[in-house]
Amino acid sequence: MSRVAIIKYPGTNCEEETLYAIRNASKLDGRIVWHSEFKMDEWDAIILPGGFSYGDYGHAGLIASWSKASNEIEKAFENDIPILGICNGFQILTEIGILPGNLLYNESAKFIARWIRVKVHNPKGPWLSLIEEGAVLSMPIAHAEGRYFTDSPENVIKKPWMEYIENPNGSIRSIAGVAEKDGIVLGLMPHPERASFPWQSPRGFEPGGRKIFEGLGVSLKRGW
């Protein structure tokens, strides 16, 4: 069975529910791997989960990006291994530099946790393989540093990306998620692992993250 690594840094806190979604929604084998022990060639896909790492001291994702796991993640990137960065994982991927742009303090300068909706554009790659162009997914966000910024948003939106229906944090072009390598690498601020089972979403929202995990499961078996 394909194996998915979920990388844990000191202070990481969304690894368990992510593992639960990998096992029960993707139906894949997954493991939580301590950052300093992570070797890319043992895995078929890699997830950098959400939460915080190193308390997000300095700024979110900064200290985690100093880990030697970053070298392995860069190698995985070169080798076209699917990588998903959720929230803090997205922040770390931008700090490492394999996803473009940066995640700055929310416009409100406060942490925001709420259910939101995103629209998916140009879906491609293993993570978005089951999602149609223009599909709207609901998921919760929970972040203080989620305001996406880049000098050239026009480059981001040529590729697979996600757009907030209602911009919660001041992100440029309402960008909620970005991708590289035709969607093999995806980073997003909303939390799909908290929206993978029907009872995780209150009335008015659907578990919009499930398709991302199911997509990975299908893709790793059949290709994408």
């Binding site: 300095g58 700024h59 900064l62 990006s65 100093w66 700090e95 940066n102 700055l104 303090y105 929310n106 416009e107 409100s108 300068a109 910024f149 880049t150 000098d151 001041g170």
Partner: protein
Amino acid sequence: MSIYKILLIVSYKASARDPEGETIAHELKSLGYKEVIKVRVGKAFFFDIEAKDKEEASEKIKKIAFETKLHNPNVHDIMVISIV
């Protein structure tokens, strides 16, 4: 070698905007502090660092900040001040 105190300040570039600074400026004005024209916020790092002299200390901090991405030139401005 002795120990120098260097202050590094990291703030957002104008293109990235500084909503928190804008909010504070706005609030201060509405509280009646009309003399406040503008506010920008940033993060301050006070370093105690070993170096030959003040200049080397500052250079070292700039180098560390750049290499470790304590600031990201795409979005951050920095300021380095040597303190006595």
